[in-house]
Amino acid sequence: MPNMDPKKCPMPVQEPEARIRNFSEVALGYTYDMAVGEARRCLSCKNKPCVSGCPVGIDIPAFVARVAAEDMEGAWEVLSASTALPAVCGRVCPQENQCEGKCVRGIKGEPVGIGRLERFVADWHREHTDAKPEVPVQNGHKVAVIGSGPSSLTAAGELAKAGYKVTVYEALHTPGGVLVYGIPEFRLPKDIVRREIDGLRQIGVDIETNVVVGKTVTIDELFDMGNEAVFIGSGAGLPRFMGIPGESLNGVYSANEFLTRINLMKAYKENAKTPVQRARNVAVVGGGNVAMDAARCAKRLGAQNVYIVYRRGMEEMPARREEVEHAQEEGIIFRTLCNPIEVLGDDKGCVKGMICQEMELGEPDASGRRRPVPKEGSTFTLEVDCMVMSIGTSPNPLIRSTTPGLETNRHGCIITSGDDGLTTREAVYAGGDAVTGAATVILAMGAGKQAARAIDQYIRSKE
């Protein structure tokens, strides 16, 4: 008999007053009993709508059933057959729009907490199992993977499991891409990312840091080195600015720079060698998950007032509901329908405020969201000493400019033919934000998985 509680078991969290003073993880994870109880809410329905909502196609009812039966290792085996990064996905996937969004239990109540269960199983496995994964039998073929974010790690893992010798090339000094430089410690502990990457190394994936493809080596040279295919998962790292006066003042950061200083370079730590401004009043411009991350980091660095400045309304905000709620609990102030038009500086060239234009919502635009239009004559000044621009990113031009025959669209995104990620160059595949522009971890993982399959088929077809 399933557990018919209409509500999801709540996630234990650090209380807001405590967590705004530290960078430790906010969500503490289910206990064993909570996980088993929650898993028993699953109806094991035959048509498995949840699976259709998962970009990497995890057999969700099967892993949940094993949790309900208290077979945690069995649950982990089901998960790891489909995902290389369960501890990551369980934490950062927008489950409400994916698996949980399709859950039958969600029709009359709350869906099964699939993401929370995935996290529980991954954490349980990590804490209870020392067994090293078996190194797959090598098939003698080499593949190069560019970047080490979610799409690349997934592609590398899938290919390694299929017997390929995979080398991952990362431009920064630590692998993990956005999981390491972008998503903060309090949402995704870096130790977890490191362990997931260690797992890939254990199955034979080589990871070379400090290699900028397009500069240190080119894609053509990767082929010369004996690779039979290349996967590009270099992400969308190029930050956008608004192009308003005063954006070059000291105290204006791109979200990339702000978060990289904090997450990758650990500027939040007491004796960090890389600095970040400790501002009193911070405005984060944008309404996505990255904006929430930046705002919550600013709060933890000791800012008194942190504003989210967003030109549309709360309804239109692209950030996950949970992230917005966490931000609100932490005292982040939401200034919606508000668009900065100028940054003001003091005589030392530092930010002292920003002029904002109030907005109202007009007709829906191409994205289907109501377009914000300026409200005549209503501007005001917000006193801030730091501004973080979180209005999106686009793919880095370094690879496309050094790879003849690799075509991109007008946004700089790599053009691929359909779902398998094949680019306009033979044997070169791409996936993740480098193809779609900034999106989610799980979509990137799905793309990495599909490209890995396509690469496997391509190399087999040559034999």
Partner: protein
């Protein structure tokens, strides 16, 4: 890890190091830069490539000991290794086709100006070098410069060596003497480059400067190195580091360069306080 093959103090505050980095050496060209981290928790710091040897697989860097990261680097000796060394980054200098060039170097900037002068000399250009230092004991690469230039003017702020005065005085004199340069290449402190550009603008001589702003990744990701060039935002790491000096907003660059001055001062003060406590 990237092993230090050679280390040499060029003067009390400037050090030259030869680093084993075969992948970087294979691709390096004049004008490009690298980013290093001396240790596991070190800062990422960009340095322009001073020289490279493709056969030996080494890259030479020359740096001034100014802050925590360069102090940490300078504490390493030949045989030790750097944790990270990535490159070559940025666009190479465009030196092809130049017939007559004035290369202006200021202080440690001479370390970068020298390979440029050398390359121009190899390409057959007539090179006039104008190098400036605060005083005699800070002079570096004098012999090297004179070996690759057709004319060399040595300037010191205090007159303790060469001629007393600024590089801008010497450059203006050369131009007034009737030297017609295809290009002036200026590498040094921002203030020096700004005033070199003011001089050359008067005479309508094309001027290229090498910018070295604060940056983290060096691949276009952080945007911390942004500059205003000809009214547009440019990233020094991917669009530069060389720019048309007459288009660069130097005052803004100088302001941005001071962003973490307080942090650095605090760090120094903290270190001094520690020393004081130990002394008590």
């Amino acid at each position: 890890m990237y092993r230090i093959v050679e280390k040499e103090a060029l003067n009390p505050t400037v050090t030259r190091m030869v680093i084993e980095a075969p992948l970087v050496a294979r691709k390096a060209q004049p004008g490009q830069f690298i980013i290093f981290r001396a240790s596991e928790d070190g800062e990422r710091v960009p340095l322009t490539i001073a020289d490279y040897d493709r056969e030996k697989g080494t890259v030479t860097i020359i740096f001034q000991i100014v802050g925590g990261a360069t102090m940490e680097l300078n504490a390493l000796e030949a045989g030790d290794s750097l944790t990270d060394f990535v490159g070559p980054l940025g666009k190479p200098s465009d030196l092809e086709g130049l017939k007559k060039v004035a290369v202006v170097g200021g202080g440690v900037g001479c370390a970068i100006a020298y390979p440029t002068a050398k390359r121009l000399h190899e390409l057959g250009a007539e090179v006039h070098a104008v190098v400036g230092f605060r005083s005699r004991d800070l002079v570096i690469l004098e012999k090297e410069f004179s070996a690759v230039s057709d004319r060399m003017l040595m300037m010191t702020d205090d007159g303790s060596y060469g001629e007393k005065g600024l590089v801008t005085n010497a450059l203006e004199r050369l131009i007034q003497e009737g030297n017609r340069y295809d290009e002036v290449i200026a590498i040094g402190p921002l203030v020096m480059m700004k005033f070199v550009c003011k001089v050359t603008e008067k005479y309508g001589v094309k001027t290229t400067v090498s910018m070295n702003p604060i940056m983290i990744d060096g691949t276009g990701m952080c945007g911390g190195c942004r500059l205003t060039v000809g009214g547009q935002t440019k990233f020094a790491c991917v669009d530069g580091p060389d720019f048309d000096g007459h288009q660069v907003d130097f005052d803004e660059a100088i302001q941005r360069g001071g962003m973490y001055r307080d942090f650095e001062a605090h760090a120094r003060e903290a270190a001094c306080n520690l020393f004081k406590k130990e002394a008590e």
